[in-house]
């Protein structure tokens, strides 16, 4: 029973991964991809924790932690990078006002 649950969870997790990856590649805008990356990161973190349990070795938890931290940083960095720089931001805001 419990094995079945775990396997089911695994399959569902894989499906989730697949959907997120699809979004990552499909876009259509950069923020969309970043969202997908963020989701992927969280799923991966969970997967790493699960891996730690699978191997029964707690050192994978460290990896999960570091991964979570770095993935977060990466997402934030990309989010910052896709933000328009000062000049473009002004252009965008003025355009908004024109709307």
């Amino acid at each position: 029973m419990e094995n079945f649950l775990i396997v089911l969870a695994f399959v569902i997790g894989l499906a989730a991964l697949a959907l997120a990856i699809w979004r990552f590649f499909a876009g259509p805008t950069t923020p969309d991809r970043v969202v997908a990356a963020d989701t992927l990161a969280i799923i991966t973190t969970a997967a790493l924790v699960w891996l730690a349990a699978f191997f029964g070795n707690s050192i994978y938890l460290d990896i999960a932690l570091v991964y979570a931290a770095l993935a977060f940083v990466a997402v934030v960095v990309i989010a910052r990078m896709i933000e328009p720089d000062a000049k473009q931001a002004d252009a965008v805001s003025s355009q908004k006002e024109a709307d």
């Binding site: 419990e2 569902i12 979004r23 805008t29 989010a79």
Partner: protein, 101 residues
């Protein structure tokens, strides 16, 4: 006991899947952020909890991971949403008109 753990893990992965599905189905980036981050946060927490049931000795670190995810996940989504907004992406148009009207 282990059944509970496995169920929690299953629940967690289900939420993760829902999040991914939301990512897949939602029409614009804000809604995707909403669906994606919320569901995955709870999903991962649930998975962590399930693992904690299996390995009770690991709770400190699992707790740490959970706290970290709780802290960072909304920050990431908020930052993303702001970035999307700054790039000039408008929320899903048809509904917006109605909402403001």
């Amino acid at each position: 006991m282990q059944i509970i753990g496995a169920s929690l893990i299953l629940l967690g992965t289900s939420f993760l899947f829902l999040g991914a599905l939301g990512l897949f189905r939602m029409p614009d980036v804000y809604n995707r952020i909403q669906a994606g981050t919320k569901a995955t946060t709870l999903g991962s927490l649930s998975v962590l909890l399930g693992i904690a049931v299996y390995y009770p000795l690991w709770w400190p670190k699992l707790l740490l991971i959970a706290l970290f995810i709780l802290l960072t996940s909304p920050i990431a989504s908020s930052t993303l949403a702001r970035a999307a907004y700054k790039t000039g992406l408008r929320p899903y148009r048809a509904a917006l008109d109605k909402g403001e009207g």
